[in-house]
Subunit: 436 residues, 2 copies
């Protein structure tokens, strides 16, 4: 499909997520999509650029085109447990409530729960998710059918997976479909025995690949790692050679100055999950200090059972204001930087080098923002409006890989919403009726 | 207008905001509105209840009817300064940026900025606001034309207003229109000389009326009050007899145990503004401790220039999760209580005794929530879904005083959206072009 967007405001960002905030601007003009890529950005009627034959021409009416939001830490399937177990601390929430339910999950359940997550993603302007979960074949099927870009993260731990299985998945999912990719990873230090971690580090060295894991999410996780190994989880990973080719830590709430220095030196992404960490009372990540130290930053929603929404607008807001609260400084972490974390940063964190910004040659992973809604008015500062006042309801169109998957409340993801809701509700009903 | 809602889920709450959380339930059935009031709630086809002649019958399709959200602290006009001055601490934000712009504001400006706020309110399910600002005639005109319920709060301070003016406003606005009411109040201790406060306390005694003010919002405000008077702002108000007939404190971020004891004893509402306090780095109010001590609680958005959205869904979420963060306890402040703060609590805080819950004889101030959206699925726990995952986009209909003011993206508030946007943008353009 060749699609012409005209009469648009277009958000232009620096490709480097850690660049100064001055790298963000808004231009007026057109954006052309040819198949899966952006082929032109500029003023209309430019004689030097021959127009393709258009399948559709969309009048943006002065609204905004911007890169899709990147959900850099997700467990998409966990939508089935939304509001199932709230108001509990992480350990009992995870071991008493979540793990027993997940043990009952079938591939078909995972397919439908992923579809529900994808509905929430695309209607809220999320064009890619970095997903850690089992049952990847079923999630991949849901993603490809939906036209959604899914980057898997290896999920090995003591209860499932091995370095060999991770390697097999790495090879297989990275040649499966243009919408699917895979990065090496494992669940976390506190759920994974040392030999497994050691084996995974060797795979990372073999492929010169980055490694991702839940890292320093809670104070007790860090304390227990000190008991087991005498060092913090970040230091342990460094000692294991896990970050030889970079990678990322999900959460990074309880990281020391020394930990930050390692993350910076290794180019390891700190993926911030403000809502989940707040709701589980895990703490506030030191985002401002991480940024000042030069640690690359991205934002994720975590799963729906801990968050409970999969809403990057809410994440951006909380990330911004919690940084100000933590530093006791209203100037900490400017809005431009938060927007970069949620777009360019997330794309780079999950190795989506072609989906980071709106520019010629990049993948057409973009969203249209309705500025003619009360929370976007007046237009004193467009980027501040996005970060401090923007919401999922402002997303009027979502395009991934050149395909429109959501537009004005309508989903173009294969299955219809009613079927998806019915199937996910039947999953949870079956599980709770059958307590075994 | 007589309107029948059928095929509905209906949220039923205890009238007492401080009752145990067990007081919330959801029933299935019908809700009938006759003129401005609810005249029936129950199963359909009930022979004992004669149906009025219907002007409209609305199939709720299994979705939810609930009381409108009550914005218990607002400066509606400040929409014109949204995203105008962000990332600044409260004192310099207020004195260097906000006050100079507000000095240039005309009544016509205030009318349009109020209309913009009302658009955001009704599209996000807010049916009443407790508004502190000057130019009340213009705000009242916007509210009455829009069909919006506005409760004014006296705004006297050293730069404008007197106890006499406050009294005159109190009498006049309380007999103006069914949608308009007025409560005694003043800006804050730190902006108001003692003789003015003393005079207002006398008015409160004369009318046996509650008094409202910004109270203990920042640490520096409290410290300066100690310097001036040797006591905290809460203690000073108690000494002045300000809370003889109750009242409320907006923010209540920096309150001591002794302060809480006074608030409880006097029945003074603590109105929590989580987003504004976070964004301005003022701190996290001790909501859980206030609740446990028995201080009555409500929630407000504050103004759009500090927040920056007027979104009670965001406020509910932040109030819940910040309480968990502050207490380092994921169990702190259950979702049911937060929902009560935003509905029953807010109504009682602003003395709207007839707008608190859905029950026969109450005012028809209600909203319809679309449950057939991905963030509301699956239906593991409806109230948790509302508080932890709900968003303004779930609001499909807003009714105030029996009149539908918003429905499926359409506004029925007198002026059309394009005009409102144009006028507010022209206000700010005129002000910033004309620097004097």
């Amino acid at each position: 499909m060749n699609i012409r967007f005209y009469n648009a405001r277009i958000l232009i960002q620096e490709e480097h997520a850690d660049a100064a905030q001055s790298g963000t601007s808004v231009i007026q003009g057109e954006l052309w999509v040819q198949k899966d890529r952006i082929c032109y950005i500029g003023p209309g009627g430019d004689a030097a650029h021959e127009e393709p034959v258009w399948d559709e021409q969309i009048n943006v009416n002065g609204n905004l085109l911007m890169p899709g939001l990147k959900n850099a830490h997700a467990h998409s399937v966990m939508t089935f447990l939304r509001s199932y177990a709230d108001d509990l601390p992480l350990q009992s929430w995870l071991f008493d409530k979540i793990f027993p339910m997940e043990a009952k999950l079938s591939g078909e359940d995972a397919y439908w729960a992923s579809k529900l997550a994808i509905m929430e993603y695309v209607s809220g302007g999320i064009t890619a998710a970095f997903d850690m979960y089992k049952l990847k074949n079923d999630i991949a099927r849901a993603a490809v059918e939906s036209g959604f870009r899914m980057v898997f993260c290896g999920d090995m731990n003591d209860f499932g997976g091995t370095p060999e299985i991770t390697e097999e998945e790495y090879v297989r999912f990275n040649s499966m479909d243009p919408l699917i990719s895979y990065q090496l990873g494992f669940h976390a230090e506190y759920t994974t025995a040392r030999p497994l971690m050691h084996g995974l580090a060797q795979i990372a060295h073999k492929y010169k690949a980055p490694v991702y894991l839940h890292l320093s999410e809670t104070a007790s996780e860090v304390a227990e790692c000190f008991e087991r190994y005498g060092v913090s989880p970040v230091v342990l990973m460094d000692q294991l050679g896990m970050f030889e080719y970079g990678g990322g830590g999900f959460h990074c709430v309880h990281v020391s100055e020394a930990d930050m220095e390692i993350l910076k030196r290794r180019g390891v992404w700190a993926v911030i999950n403000s809502c989940s960490n707040a709701k589980l009372a895990s703490g506030i990540a030191p985002v401002f200090k991480l940024w000042k130290q030069g640690v690359p930053l991205a934002i994720g929603t975590d799963g729906a059972s801990s968050n409970n929404a999969l809403d990057m607008w809410k994440e951006m807001y909380l990330t911004a204001v919690l940084a100000k609260l933590k530093e006791k400084d209203a100037e900490a972490l400017p809005a431009e930087q938060v927007l970069k974390m949620a777009t360019v940063g997330g794309a780079h964190a999950m190795c989506l080098k072609d989906c980071d910004v709106l520019a010629v040659g990049k993948k057409a992973d973009l969203i249209m923002i309705n500025l003619n809604m009360p929370n976007m008015q007046p237009q004193n500062h467009l980027i501040h409006n996005l970060v401090y006042s923007g919401a999922a309801r402002n997303v009027s169109l979502t395009m991934i890989n050149g395909r429109i998957v959501y537009r004005d409340g309508q989903y173009f993801i294969g299955d219809d919403p009613e079927t998806i809701y019915r199937e996910v509700n039947s999953t949870i009903k079956r599980m709770t009726a059958n307590k075994i």
